[in-house]
């Protein structure tokens, strides 16, 4: 399904799960994708591990370091995706330098071949994207996904909305990932976003770890993104399939 249709057709809040490719084991990704699809997750965000993940807290720093030690790389991620049967809608998230060294055009082409519909590169400034890479992204049908935060001005939120084509990633609190402070304090900001009537739907991410957090976020937006809490679940997992089923059941009991 296309990203646009997922948001249009949704009957309940969209659950987007982030995980780090190559973690806990080099070959974990295909298992994780299949399990998440079976558990009824709407879409996934595949994290491309980076040596120096500036926006990430300790949990994703650690999963990234382990994944790199396991031998993961951008090319291996695409090789694994090519062999993977799961049809779950996918986006990718990473740091711009890794994409730059892989080659932006080659990266977009590989994304298209592997049904990756959107890419989040938090450290790629919008003006640089527009000047150098937008035509390439468009050529391969890859949606750029941009972030807004509680400190983003209203004017800039409108600008980011105008630059977006799929959805806006609203960072719930001014923090790195996995701060674990919960998102209840973000109510005023989330309400502001909701009343702005933006053109693009919003998914809320960072600091969503429980059913309560996810339900809270879903009041204000199309859904939420869970990252660090999911990674933590995988940390001590002996059977990925079971633990993933259990984790998702906790977030969405009725499925």
């Amino acid at each position: 399904m296309q990203l646009k249709e997922i948001f249009k057709n949704r009957k309940e809040p969209i659950l987007n799960i982030y995980f780090t490719a190559g973690y806990p084991a080099l070959e974990s990704m295909p298992i994780i994708l299949n399990s998440l699809e079976q558990a009824g997750v709407d879409m996934v965000e595949i994290g491309m591990p980076y040596s120096d993940p500036l926006s990430d807290g300790p949990t994703i720093q650690k999963s990234s370091a382990i994944a790199l030690k396991n031998g993961i790389s951008t090319s291996i991620i695409f090789e694994q995706l090519a062999k993977c049967e799961s049809k779950i809608p996918k986006i990718m998230m990473g740091y711009f330098n890794a994409v730059l060294q892989f080659g932006v055009e080659k990266f977009c082409e590989k994304c298209q071949q592997n049904n990756i519909q959107g890419v989040i590169l938090p450290d790629l400034p919008i003006p640089v994207y527009q000047e150098h890479y937008q035509t390439t992204f468009e050529k391969y049908g890859i949606a750029p996904i941009f972030l807004v935060t509680p400190e983003t001005s209203e004017e800039r939120i409108r600008y980011i909305d105008a630059c977006s084509t799929a959805f806006i990633y609203a960072v719930s609190t001014s923090s790195t990932t996995g701060a674990g402070t919960g998102i209840q304090s973000a109510a005023a900001y989330l309400q502001k976003l909701q009343t702005m009537q933006l053109n693009n739907p919003i998914l809320i991410g960072f600091n969503i770890g429980s059913k309560a957090d996810f339900d809270f976020a879903s009041q204000y937006a199309a859904g939420g993104i869970i990252g660090s809490a999911f990674i933590k679940q995988l940390e001590n997992s002996t059977t990925l399939e079971n633990d993933i089923q259990k984790f998702i059941k906790n977030i969405r009991p009725k499925n």
Partner: protein, 389 residues
Amino acid sequence: MKQDYNVDAAGFYGVFGGAFVPEMLYPNVEELQNSYLTILQEKSFQKELQQLLEDYVGRPTPLYFAKRLSAHYGAKIYLKREDLCHTGAHKINNALGQILLAKKLNKTRIIAETGAGQHGVATATACALMGIECCIYMGAKDVERQAPNVARMKMLGATIIPVESGSKTLKDATNEAIRDWINNPVDTHYIIGSVVGPHPYPDMVARFQAIISKEIKNQLKGDPSHVIACIGGGSNAIGAFYHYLSNKAVQLVGVEAAGQGIHTAKTAATLTLGTQGIIHACMTTLLQDKDGQIIEPHSISAGLDYPGIGPQHAHLHQTKRVNYHSVTDQEALNAALFLSKNEGIIPALESAHALAYLNKMEIKPTDKIVINLSGRGDKDLETLTKNLL
């Protein structure tokens, strides 16, 4: 054609520079971009900084004619004595400039990264002077090898956070400081210690360090033939080069740390071995593998143990305005001992890299060589004595 080596309106030096920050840092960086030039040009700001540089730092620092060194190498050799600055290195020039800026921006908390501990000490000093809370990130390995500076920062009232990730050195301390800033975007100013990071830091820090070459120009009769400086991120070097950049008669030389050698994996010779990419939110040259993962560097000198370099240096390298070379750990150690025994000056291990280059260059009797002695060696005594005596 007049070549412009300074930053353009978009924050770039040719293809290098920019502000590759995540949205979480956008408002902080934008605030600095929009305000730094105005604040730096305010009369009251300039007056306050000037006063501090004179009365508190002890500027101008001497330009010392090194007689025995000159006799040994057969040319006129001068040392720009940044080691005589209060706190023992050039880092204080930038720390004081930025703390005054932070005050103008109504920030109530300061964070900084440090490698050798010199920038940490300078920042902790500036914070003690102004009565502002101070938090210093330092790689766990550097906490160990620069113990005297850790003790000094504690005396000055700073909180020191040892960083255990990655190579546990300057790169990782910088990562952690940036993460702190993401988590504290409103009240905190991040005092970066070198000409690295997102625009406007490379230009702002360069302006604060430019006083070094401004003074050399006043102190030296005529042009030097060479100005030589060591390069970690490149702030003392930019400071020493700044007012000579458009004067092609002056040869400018940057000296990187080769570590155990540029043919080994244990090196920090960024411009010699690196490629174009992004580190700490700026496009520059860095040590990275083919996948764009940053390679952990090595140098015996904590202040040079960094896998990137300021974007202006990447540009000056590409345009060939500055020549960049590297010297090994051992060559730097020997140079430190040589200066100590022949001039009675114990240099910082960082600065010893610049001194060591004298053994590698062709020297003419008519040469007038200025070496930027960026810091003193008190902090390195343990490393120096362990390796040399």
